[in-house]
Symmetry: C2
Subunit: 355 residues, 2 copies
C-alpha cells in the first residue's frame, strides 16, 4: 500500500515558524517535539548521521562481534532532583533501560556520566547515586563504567547525569515504526501523564488535593512478558517528553500510516486530569516514565493485552486506538462527543526539564 | 611476587585532608586525581559499583551475546569550545575512542548526548556537530544514537557533550594494570602537555611566542599497530586529566609495582616547557588527548617502539622508564642531576575543564 511506504515530512505541517533561521537554541529544542526533530534533521544528522542514527528510534540496533545490540543514550536534567515517586537517579536508570527495552532488548550494562556543579552538597550526590544503584538493581542492569566532571558554580545546575546502555536484542525481534500497518491495535500500558504532573507539583509548589507520584519504572520485564506472547509486535515506544501525543506522531510519521485514538479510552487518573485542567495542560502531551505504547498486529492483540494486565506494570493496560490507512502520518482523536480532532506533534515541551 | 598482588591504598598517602567529611563538591572532584578517585570509592562504588566498574579502567570490558566488548563514557565540558588544534566536538569523539582503544578494542559505535544552554547560537552547535562528525569519520566510528537536552540560560555553559562508546576487544588481548610486572618497559607515544597548554593559552589569553596546537587525536590505529607486534602488551592508558603523573600513579597503585621515570627521557616540547615554567605548572600533570603510555614486557619493547615510531601518531615515541619491584604503588622520577623525587597523584586538576 502506498500509504504505508511514503512517510510524509511531519515537520512540513507542524512548524509554521521559520525555525531553521532561528539563531539561538530555545528550551523547546530539548522538548522532544518538532523543534527537537528539526535540530536533529538540520544540524546533527547532516554533521554526523549514519545508518543507525537516521533510524531515529529510542535506541539504535547495531551488529558487533556477531551480537545484535541495542545502544541508547539519554541525559537527565530534571528539576528538582527529587520528586514524589522518584529522583534523577531513578530516571537515569529507567529512562535508558526503557529506551533499550523499546527495541525488544534485554538491558544489560549502563554507563553513568555525572556533570556536577561546584558547591553541590556531597550528601545530595550520595543520595542520587544511591537512588541510581537501587534503580539499577531493580532493573537488573549493571553500571559498568562511569565518569565525573565538575563545572564552576553558576555554570551547571547541581547534578546532570548521562546514562548510556547496551542490551541484547533476541533473535527474531524486530521492533520499528516501519513495520506498522493499518489495522494494528494501539495499546497503552497504563494511565498517562503521571510523571510530568508529579514533577510539576513539587517544582511549582502546587497541591492538587492528593499527592501524585511519578510512575517512573523499568519496563524491560513487561516487554519480555509481551514478547513471550508473540515476537511479532510491530513497534514499542515509551511516551516520555512530549507525552503520548509525540510518541504516536513519531510512529505515524515514520510508518506512513494514520493513527486513530479513542479519547475516552485513554486512561487518565482523576488527579492528573484535575491538575491538567487547572494548569491548562493536555494529558496527551505530558511526560511519562513508566509507560509504553505498543502497536500490535490485530490477531495477537487480545493475548498481548491479557499478558500485560497480568504484569504488575501493565495492570491498567488498555486498547486506545488503531493504525489506519486514512490520513497517513497524522494522529486523530475521536472525542467523547463523536467529533474528531488532530493530535499534532508538539513544537517543544509544555514542561521543560521533566527528565 | 607479593609486590605485584597487593595494591596499596594510594589515597592513604596522597590525601592528608579530611576530604571525606567535606560537605560540598569542589572543582578537584572532576580533576581525575585523588579527589575524583575518592568520590568514586566513597560515593559511587558503594552506591552502584559492580565487577566491571570496580576494575576502574578507562573503559569496562564486558561480555554480551558472546562478544567481548569495551564500553566507556566521558562527558566533555571544555572551555572554550574551540581551541588551537581542536574543539569540544573533536575531544568528544577522540576522548571516548581513546578510552576504548586503551582496552585494545576496535572502537565501533558512539552515542552522543548534548546538554545545551538556552540562548547558545545554533551556528555554534552546528560547528561543534560538524567537528564531531569530522572526528568520527577520521576515527572510523559511527555515531549510532543521540539525545539533546536544553537547560535555562545560566544553568549550563553553552555546550556540554557526553559520548559513550562500544568496541570489540580482539581475542587474546587483555590489557589491565594488574598484568604489569617489574621489568616492564614504560613507553610514551610522544611529547606531553600539549593539549592542556593549548587550551589554557586561549582561555587565559596568554601568548607563548608560538601557537601551541592541541595533540587531540584518535589512537585506535596506533594501538592496532602495537598489538600487531604482540598481543602481550600489559597495559595502555591515555594520560588525560591529571596528565602522565596521574596515569602512572593509577597503574602503579592498581598493579602494586613501583614505577621509575627518567625525567630527561620524557619528551616535552620547548614551547610547553616554557609555558609551564611561566605558569608554575609541571608538564607531568598537564592533560593530553592524543598520547598514550604503554607498559610493555621487556622482550617486546624494542619491536613495539619501532612499530610506534613508524606510525604517524607515534613518531616521537620514547622509552621513559620501567616498572620496578621497589616502592610498590609509587612513582619516582630520576632527575637530570641524579636525584630522585616522588611523582604523586595530583589531588585535583591544575587546569579545570580541560576536556
Amino acid at each position: 500500500m502506498s500509504e504505508t511506504t511514503e512517510a510524509p515530512d511531519v515537520l512540513a505541517w507542524t512548524c509554521p515558524l521559520p525555525l531553521r533561521d532561528q539563531p539561538r537554541v530555545v528550551m523547546g529544542h530539548g522538548g522532544g517535539g518538532a523543534l527537537s526533530a528539526e535540530l536533529v534533521r538540520d544540524v546533527f544528522a547532516p554533521a554526523y548521521g549514519g545508518p543507525a542514527l537516521s533510524a531515529m528510534g529510542d535506541s539504535a540496533t547495531v551488529e558487533l562481534g556477531g551480537a545484535r545490540l541495542a545502544f541508547s543514550t539519554d541525559s537527565f536534567v530534571v528539576r528538582p532532583l527529587f520528586f514524589p515517586g522518584g529522583s534523577i537517579g531513578h530516571l537515569a536508570v529507567n529512562g535508558t533501560v526503557n529506551d533499550l527495552a523499546m527495541s525488544g532488548a534485554r538491558p544489560a550494562f549502563l554507563s553513568c556520566g555525572f556533570i556536577l556543579e561546584e558547591g553541590v552538597e556531597t550528601e545530595v550526590v550520595r543520595r542520587v547515586a544511591e537512588a541510581l544503584g537501587e534503580a539499577a538493581r531493580t532493573a537488573g542492569v549493571e553500571v559498568a563504567t562511569g565518569d565525573t566532571k565538575v563545572v564552576e558554580a553558576g555554570h551547571g545546575d547541581g547534578v546532570f547525569i548521562n546514562t548510556s546502555g547496551i542490551g541484547l536484542v533476541p533473535p527474531g525481534v524486530d521492533l520499528r515504526p516501519q513495520r506498522v500497518v493499518p489495522g494494528d491495535v494501539v495499546i497503552v500500558s497504563g494511565p498517562i501523564g503521571v510523571h510530568g504532573v508529579a514533577v510539576l507539583s513539587v517544582r511549582e509548589g502546587l497541591e492538587f488535593g492528593v499527592e501524585i507520584e511519578s510512575d517512573c519504572a523499568a519496563l524491560a520485564g513487561l516487554v519480555e512478558t509481551m514478547l513471550a506472547v508473540t515476537e511479532d509486535l510491530h513497534v514499542l515506544r515509551d511516551p516520555t517528553r512530549g507525552g503520548l501525543a509525540a510518541a504516536l506522531n513519531e510512529i505515524a510519521a515514520a510508518s506512513g500510516t494514520g493513527v486513530v485514538v479513542r479519547e475516552r479510552a485513554v486512561p487518565v487518573p482523576a488527579p492528573v486530569a484535575n491538575a491538567c485542567a487547572v494548569l491548562g495542560l493536555d494529558p496527551m502531551y505530558v511526560a511519562n516514565e513508566g509507560k509504553l505504547v505498543a502497536f500490535v498486529p490485530r490477531p495477537h492483540a487480545d493475548a498481548v493485552l491479557a499478558a500485560m494486565r497480568a504484569h504488575p506494570l501493565g495492570r491498567e493496560a488498555a486498547v486506545i486506538g488503531e493504525a489506519v490507512a486514512d490520513h497517513p502520518g497524522m494522529v486523530v482523536a475521536r472525542t467523547g462527543l463523536g467529533g474528531t480532532r488532530v493530535v499534532d506533534l508538539p513544537l517543544g515541551e509544555q514542561l521543560p526539564r521533566i527528565c
